[in-house]
Symmetry: C2
Subunit: 364 residues, 2 copies
């Protein structure tokens, strides 16, 4: 493996000094980029794109060729795991992801196995290896997975849902069965992320998109506890460096203290929580990643810079901040606006870091 030319992102996640705040954007490889749409139409379906390591690599690198981003993130989908478990993932226009065989009873839970990441999910590991080769050490590569609870919502509902009536129905009426399901999914996520790390992922992020629809007590029992199990089960070192783990519960701003106590290295924070408050609440025990409202990218360049300045000021001085959106970039964003944001983060953040500290690293 070639040495890493820019390790600002990894250093910030470990709360080590950097020269400027690293930045990447959730869904940075996506529909707002015309070059993404071109590759996507070449690939066929969305899952065809995920399953083709060369094309997945191509779209992963596209935003890096446009913007001086400090990290790449594997192009994939959180539903690869349930698909590998045999649920039959497909996508419908307008309705989003669906499963042919939802998991709604004991027999269905019992029939689930833990996929072998190098077999059923080998296309993901191939994509990780291809991307690492093509990145050639420019920036670190982030691997990721959905959280067990988030994956379970899709598995039980058979797709996206507004009310979560079925998955919560199982949770309230059959907590034993829900725990069985979550245990299998957690084992699958752990082995999936460890395989990504073995294949070359240099940091991993767990996306808990739907933990925020639970009560505090149910969040602990049905989402957080399983994320903690995963954190405990991850191989945290690779290629001679620590592999940081980021937890992100959307709408989880009320639970940051508990999330920080899982042993993860960093928390994703959405824009409904002020980073200054978040930092006080977690007592600088973890790094924070976020948290500008993605809608800011619909505003003028001047306004984007103002809002970037506000987010940087809210985190304040010192290490431990990775700049990001509080949620994925919207498909209708002007790519030039994303560039304005990335440049503003680098330029305006220098004042928050001690002079002379280098984020760039030469040689190893």
């Amino acid at each position: 493996m070639s040495s890493l030319k820019n390790d600002r992102f990894l250093r910030a996640l470990l709360r080590e000094p950097v020269d400027m705040t690293p930045v990447w954007m959730m869904r940075q490889a996506g529909r707002y980029l015309p070059e993404y749409r071109a590759t996507r139409s070449k690939a066929g379906s969305f899952m065809d794109l995920c399953m083709n390591p060369e094309l997945a690599c191509e779209v992963t690198l596209q935003p890096l060729d446009r913007f001086p981003l400090d990290a790449a993130i594997l192009f994939s989908d959180i539903l690869t795991i349930p698909d590998a478990m045999g649920l039959g993932l497909y996508f419908t226009e307008g309705e989003g992801p669906r499963f042919e065989r939802p998991v709604q009873d004991e027999a269905a839970v019992a029939a689930l196995g833990v996929p072998d990441p190098e077999q059923e999910l080998g296309y993901v590991m191939d994509a990780v290896r291809t991307i690492r080769r093509e990145l050639d050490g420019r920036v670190p590569l982030i691997g990721f997975s959905g959280s067990p609870w988030t994956l379970a919502t899709y598995m039980v509902e058979g797709g996206g849902t507004k009310n979560f009536a079925q998955v919560k129905g199982m949770m309230f009426d059959r907590p034993d069965l829900m725990h069985q399901l979550l245990e299998k999914v957690s084992a699958s996520v752990t082995s999936y992320l460890n395989a990504q790390i073995a294949a070359g992922a240099q940091a991993v992020m767990i996306f808990d998109t739907w933990g925020g629809v639970l009560s505090p007590a149910d969040y602990r029992k049905f989402s957080l506890d399983y994320m903690k199990r995963i954190v405990d089960g991850l191989v945290r070192e690779s290629e001679g460096r620590k592999v940081p783990v980021i937890l992100f519960t959307k709408n989880g701003g009320q639970w940051l203290e508990q999330m920080a106590a899982t042993g993860c290295d960093a928390l994703g924070v959405d824009w409904t929580t002020d980073l200054a408050d978040a930092r006080v609440r977690v007592r600088d025990s973890v790094a924070l990643q976020g948290n500008i409202d993605p809608c800011v990218l619909n505003a003028s360049p001047e306004r984007i810079r103002d809002e970037v300045a506000k987010v940087l000021a809210s985190y304040g001085h010192g290490p431990g901040h990775v700049f990001n959106l509080g949620h994925g970039i919207h498909p209708n964003v002007n790519p030039e606006h994303a560039g304005v944001l990335v440049d503003a983060v680098h330029e305006l953040s220098k004042a928050y870091h001690s002079p002379g500290v280098k984020g760039e690293k030469w040689g190893d």
Copy 2:
């Protein structure tokens, strides 16, 4: 006006002693009730139902005939105000409410007037008067409005939205224009709620459905400040009693302290916040209304009782709790399950109130 036979709800909102915890359910008059669906099909469109005071009264009273609820809530829609402002409200199947003439530029904001509640919104006041007459003092009647920010989201987007890109675009790029819009909407909401109180509403609730999509700083500036203006402008006494005001920001659990400081009497709380924590945070300065997950109603009766017990225990002893769902009841709920919830609240809550305290009141 006849005297109020059951004032448990009003007493709890003012943190006065009661014999048991009062309960009502958001959207208690709604599609989960077959009798509602029958009236709805008789009325024509959804707005035809809202605009017909006799039928609006009929559906308002339906849940009270089934369950021993402690309050009635006016059957109406939050979008009556923008409709009265001339935006042309209509409903599409599957897509929800839409406006023919969204408000997206200076000219459109300048053209907006403040509706006269007894003229353009006279049908709402007629419904309030009709319901009060038919209620005949059984329980208090709640009036309501959407919050200015929430109404503005629909007015700018022209309907429901997933990303809030347009309304936030205006907020970020033209904060001056957004404030002009919010000022007009706030004036309209204030006069609308005061007219409901004059017509007979005995408590009012402001639904801030979309305040929770804002950052803390933007929430204060663009949602909370305008709700405070409304609270300041309301006539707070009628028929010789105080008219309590309830604020409810969905996903606003992080901001309860600031909401309590507006001068309102009670806060609606969704299920992502523990009532014990909420009570400590607001220091018992306001009553709390909530907060069971509406999905609990999809579980078995035994489980519903367990979850009711948990919510009652989380609030704990003493006055100041109004039991409610944390969001509107879902259309697919079995009405018998709603009855189980209401009965469980009354039965299980007696232990949390001092013996001998009466919520029923005879005479005046």
